[in-house]
Each structure stands twice: as C-alpha cells, then as structure tokens.
C-alpha cells in the first residue's frame, strides 16, 4: 500500500518537473534584471500576449531553456531586430495572410507594403535613416494595442501625441525642412476642437488625412479627394467649378489654398467678398479678365443678407419662446432656414452666382416666414394679456354687483 503511494507520488513529482521545464522561461530571467517599464513587466497588456502568443513567437529560440546563452544558440533564435529590420520583423507575421487569418481575420495584411510607399519607409529602408518612424515608434514595443483601446498609442485621442513625438520636434523636423507646428496647428483647427473639446471620435486626426502605414503628405491634386472623403458635396462642387482648372494650372493646393492644411479654422462668411479680409481678392481683381470679383461680390451680398435675415428671425423667435408661446411651427421653419444657410455656404464652393442665389432666396423666404409666425405669436401674447384684462374687469364688475345683491338680500 505504502509502496504504491510512493510510486504515485514520484510519478506526480516527475510530471511536475517536466511541465515546469516545458514552460516559457523568458520571463523568469527578464523580470529579474529589467526595470518596471521593461518588456517583461509591460507585456501583459500587449495584444499579442492576450491573443495567446509568447516571446518566442516573435523573437524565436527555445523558451524552455533556462540559460540565456543556450537560448541564444537555440534553433530559430532571432533576438532583438535592429531599428531598420523592425518593419520586416513585424511583417513576417503581419504580411502573412494565412497566419493572420488564424488570429485576426479582419486585420489587413498590407501594412508593410504601404509602409514601403511612405516617406518613413523610403527613408528607413532605402537610405537607412533611423530618425524616421518604424512600427514600434507608433505602436510601442511591448505594449501594442488595438486603436480601439483608450490607452493605445493609436487611439484617435492619442494619435497627435504619437505623431507629435517626432513632428513637434523642431530639431528633428528641421533636418527634413519641415515645420514642427502641425500638431499645435491641428489642435486649434475645427477638427482638433471637435476631437478634443467635444470628444467626437469621428473627427479626423493625423492618420485620417495622411494615412497610417503609408503616411505621406497628400499631393496637390489628391487634396480634393482627401478632403472630399468627408466633405463630399463641397468637393464635388469644387471639381465642377472654374477654380479646379485654374488651380491646377497655377499649382495651387486646392482646398488648402483657402482653408489651410493643419490649422483649418471655422470658415467665416467674411472670407468671401471684395474687401479685406476676403480671400477672393488675394487672387482676383477687377481687371483680371475673369468674373471672379463680380461673383465674389454677388455671393457675399446674398450670404450677408441671409445671415442678417437669419439673425433677425432668431431674435423674434427667441422673444416668442421667452414669452412661453407654442413655437413648434416657427422652430420647424427656423430649422429649414438653418438648413438653407448651410446649403448656401456649401454651394458657394461652386463659385457660381446662379447656383448660390436660388438657395439664398429660398432661405430669405424661410426667414420671412419665421419672422411672420413669431411676430404673430408675440402679438397673440399681448392679445391674451389684454383679453385677460378685459375678462378680469368683467368678472370684477360681476363680483361687485353680486356682492351688492347679496348685501341687499341679507338686509331684508
């Protein structure tokens, strides 16, 4: 009986030794000599570990060995790649469609191909320039996460910080003849404000316009396509406008000519017109042989009239609301007016007065309707007060009369 138990015990202990020997020994040593921010401490948050991959899946070698020299000499050991080798190192899995399909079927496998077309990729892979970004510059080394996670370096809210590590460094950017202001400019832009102040994650950030793995500044001709990804109507109107051809001939950077690139401010109506600070007069003059100034003047007048009518209508509507009137109809008309104002502002990208005027006129009619409806409600408000006054007077006379009757009756 005791002999049997002893044999079972020995078998169990031997099995335990075998299981322990087969375990990943990398952490055992690396955790000892690495700081808290070393790979062995950070790796637990990495998406690869969470998907079940281990150190050797990237670095190769035999994880069951407990001596570092033995590991280095073991079969398939890759060790730490050089900065230049990193893209290829990552691509060994990420460009393998069959392998990636097993782990994340939705993930594209063209990152390395795109990277090779990017400025970063060309500089690093062809010229050996290690100042440019490779995979780990943006994704980190051992704390790689999907862009969906808020703490990920590629989450929309963190992208400017990630790109800004290099692109806000004036010394580094100076070497390439680039400004170090894009991130600061972007934060002042409508897009930056939408993202950071309103928390609108659909607002574009660096990679939405420049691409991510194939990051490059959009070319002059592709700017309309880039902006048109979101601003489709404006882009279409511009493409069919006389400006398209003129910009191409003069090598003007399309949308950027008026709206700038990173510091894209909220457009103002005064940008259109024939007086400062209108942008039209930067290119057009009365004697430039085009209808530019005439069109700018016409659009400016139509837009300013509509804006003024909108503001006046809003004042009357606000007064009606403040007076507690049922303004549902007037508010509905106001929404239509606001829509017309937006459409008019959008339509000016056609730079064609005949296209803009009908919309502006439609808006003017809606403004008149809002004013009329709201003014009617305000009039009704005072009518109610007067009606109440007259009614109360009648009631008071009746009450006094009745009181006198009661007194007379009770005296009898």
């Amino acid at each position: 009986m005791y002999k049997k138990s002893f044999i079972y015990l020995m078998i169990c202990m031997f099995s335990a030794v075998l299981v322990t020997a087969a375990e990943d020994n990398c952490m055992t040593c690396h955790a000892d000599f690495e700081d808290d921010d070393g790979p062995s401490h950070m790796i637990s948050k990495d998406v690869h570990i969470q998907k079940g991959l281990g150190c050797v899946d990237c670095h190769g070698g035999d994880a069951s060995l407990d001596d570092m020299d033995d590991v280095r000499n073991s079969k398939g050991y890759k060790g730490v790649p050089s900065y230049r080798e990193v893209p290829k190192f990552c691509a060994s899995c990420h460009s393998d469609a069959a392998y990636m399909h097993e782990h994340n079927p939705a993930m594209p496998t063209d990152q390395f191909e795109k990277y090779k077309t990017s400025f970063h990729g060309k500089q690093l892979l062809k010229k050996g320039d290690t100042n440019v970004a490779n995979c780990i510059s943006c994704h980190s080394v051992h704390q790689i996460n999907t862009a969906k996670l808020p703490h990920s370096s590629t989450h929309p809210l963190n992208i400017t910080k990630t790109c800004g590590k290099c692109h806000s460094d004036s010394n580094l950017m100076g070497k390439y003849g680039l400004e170090a202001t894009p991130v600061a400019d972007y934060k002042e832009s409508v897009h930056g404000q939408a993202l950071f102040e309103r928390g609108d994650l659909s607002a574009p950030t660096c990679n939405d316009c420049h691409g991510n793995h194939g990051a490059a500044p959009p070319g002059v001709t592709s700017l309309i396509a880039v902006c048109g990804t979101c601003h489709a109507v404006e882009s279409e109107l511009f493409n069919s406008s006389p400006h398209k051809e003129a910009y191409e001939e003069n090598d003007f950077p399309m949308c950027m000519t008026c709206h700038s690139n990173h510091k894209i401010l909220k457009p103002e109506d005064k940008w259109v017109g024939t007086e400062e600070p209108a942008l039209c007069i930067e290119c057009h003059s009365v004697d430039d042989g085009t209808k530019g100034i005439e069109t700018a003047a016409g659009i400016s007048v139509a837009l300013k009239s509509l804006v003024k009518a909108h503001a006046e209508a809003q004042v009357v509507l606000d007064e009606a609301i403040e007076k507690g009137m049922a303004t549902t109809d007037a508010e509905f008309s106001m929404k239509e007016l606001q829509q017309s104002l937006i459409q008019t502002r959008t339509k000016l990208h056609s730079f064609n007065l005949d296209s803009v005027l009908p919309l502006a006129e439609q808006g003017m009619k809606q403004a008149a309707k809002v004013k009329e409806t709201s003014a009617g409600l305000i009039e009704e408000f005072y009518f109610r007060r007067k009606g109440l006054g007259v009614t109360s007077l009648i009631f008071t006379i009746l009450v006094i009369g009745l009181y006198l009757v009661i007194r007379k009756v009770e005296k009898k």
Binding site: G324, A326, T328, D329, G387, S392, L402, V405, V409
Partner: protein
Amino acid sequence: MSDKNLSSKMFDWVDSRFKISALVDYMGTKVVPEHSHSTFYYLGGISLFLFIVQVISGILLLMYYRPGADSAFESVQFIVSTVSFGWLVRAVHSWSANLMVFFVFLHMFTVYFTKAYRKPRELTWLSGMGLFGLSLLFGFSGYLLPWNELAFFATRVGTGMAGAVPVIGNDLLIIMRGGEEVTGATIGRFFGLHVAILPGLFTVLLSAHLIMVQRQGMSEPIDWVNKSDAEKKYMKFFPNFILRDVLVWLIVLNVIAVLATFFPDGIGVIHWPLGEKADSFAPPPAVIRPEWYFMFAFQALKMLPAHILFLEGEYFGIIFFSIGGLIWALVPFLDKKSAVDQKSKLFTAFGYFVLAFIIFMTLYGYMVE
C-alpha cells in the same frame, strides 16, 4: 307686460306641468348654519364648479383630440398651436383639474375634522370618497392622453405599481395597459376611461351625493348640540347661500383665467409642458414623477425596503395603502363617539396623522429629486 308678470307666467307654465312649487317651497325653508367654519361649506361647491369647468373644457378638447399613438401628440400640438383659443382650453382644463383635486382634498379633510361624516351622513361620506377616488382616476387617465415623453414614463411607473397589487396585480396591469407594455392600446383604454366610463360613474355618484346633501342639509358643528336654538345662527340656502356660492365660483373662474394666461403649461412641480412625443425606445427622463397628488404614495412606495417580513416591499405598500384607504372610508362607522355627537380624540389624531403623512411624503418626494 312687465318682466315680473312674464317670469310669473313662465313659472306657472312650468309648475302646471311639473309641480315644481313644492321644490321651490322646500328650497325656501332650507338653511345653512353660520359659524366660524362656515367657509368650509363652499369647498364642495367649488369642487362641483371645477368639475363643470372640466366637462365643458373637456368637450371642447374632444373636438380636436384624436387618440392613438400616431395622432394623440400631434392633435394636442395642433390644439395648442393652431386651434383658436386651443391653448386656453387646454390650460383651463389642466389648471381646473389640478384645482379640482386640491379642493376635493380640502373638502374631504374639512368634512373629516368637523366630523360632518357622522350619523346620519355616513352614505354622503362614502359617496364623497367614491368621488375622490374617481377624481384621482380622472387625473391619472388624463395624464397619458397627450402621449408625450413625461406622461409615457409616468404612466409606465404608475401602471407598474398597479401591477404590484396582490393576486390581481398582473391582470390589472394587462387590462390597464392593453398588453404587457404602455402602447397605443393603452391610450385607447385611458381615453375611454377618461371621457366615457369615469364621467358616467362620476355623474351618477355626484347626483347621489348632491341629493343626499340637499335632503339632509349642511352638517352642524358637533358642539352645537349643547347650544340653545337662540344661540344658533342660520342663513337661507336660497337665495343667500346660492348667491355667495356663485360669487366664489366667479372668483375661482377668474383665478383659473389668470393662471391659464400666465402659466399655460403650469408652474413649478405642477406643470404639463407638451415637450417631446413619447418614444418607448428613448431613455427615460432623469426625473420621472407622478402628478403632485400621487407623490405621497409614490415616495412612500419608493422608500420601502425590498422585503418586509415575508412580503415584497411594494406588495406591503399596496396592502398598507389599501387598508389605510378602507379605514378612512369606514370612519363614520368606526367612530362611535361622533355618532352620538361627541368628539373622538382618537379619530382626530388619526386624521392629523394622515394629513401629516401626505404633506411630509409629498414635500420629501420633491426634495429628494
């Protein structure tokens, strides 16, 4: 022909056919006691007047209101924004409803504390209790009819509480909602209840209440039993009291007109803004509250723990309110002292407890919001 002759002739014409002179003679002999609490006698009349206002303004609203999930909200919106004086009719209906419930409460408590329920007026009290219950049901059923966000969620909570009634709760909930959830079917049921069933029942009960009041006259104060006839003062019911009643009604009507003009959507916690249309998929508003006259019960049920003894908290609450209501209704039969014209401290204390409970719970309900 003088006016007097004309009116006499008209009276004779009617009297010869309907023999109303006996009724007029009876009215002439009817008196109302005069004492320090005589003003309480006007509260029932005010409640009656407000009910008449409700009927008239309700009929006017009916001309444009269209029940149904796709039409109720739109029709009320049309009434307040487009129909001439539609806003006024809705505001008068809503203000009058709230004032009616308020005056019914007041009438009930003054009757209670003056022991006017005592023999021989036990059935008058019971019919009054019925009218009180129907008034609350009027309020509850009318609240949903605009089919706006606030009403939708309040009705969901309210009918949910009815669902906690022991034994019949679930069936009651299905009957009230016309299904498991508050839907267009619920509007149909509440509309039918509000404009047909309740007015019918109310009219029958109100007629019985008024006939009993007229037949038995106004209750005299309990301590008049020790007074000599010389010490007792009376006022003629017709025309003195009736004229005073009309005077008060005119003032109440003017107050309603002022409130409806200045606050067509109500004010403070007593409000009925149309707001957004009901949407069962929309998140409930931050504050779901019933109308003010249900607040005490709503708050008390909210405060109960999940379990009390072997019962669910809500179950316990419903049983508590049911027993409380039953005791309140049966007070004329339980208060033996008042039946022999003696004051009962126990029942007076019970009345103060109920009043304090309602006021405290209502105020607390609004404070914790």
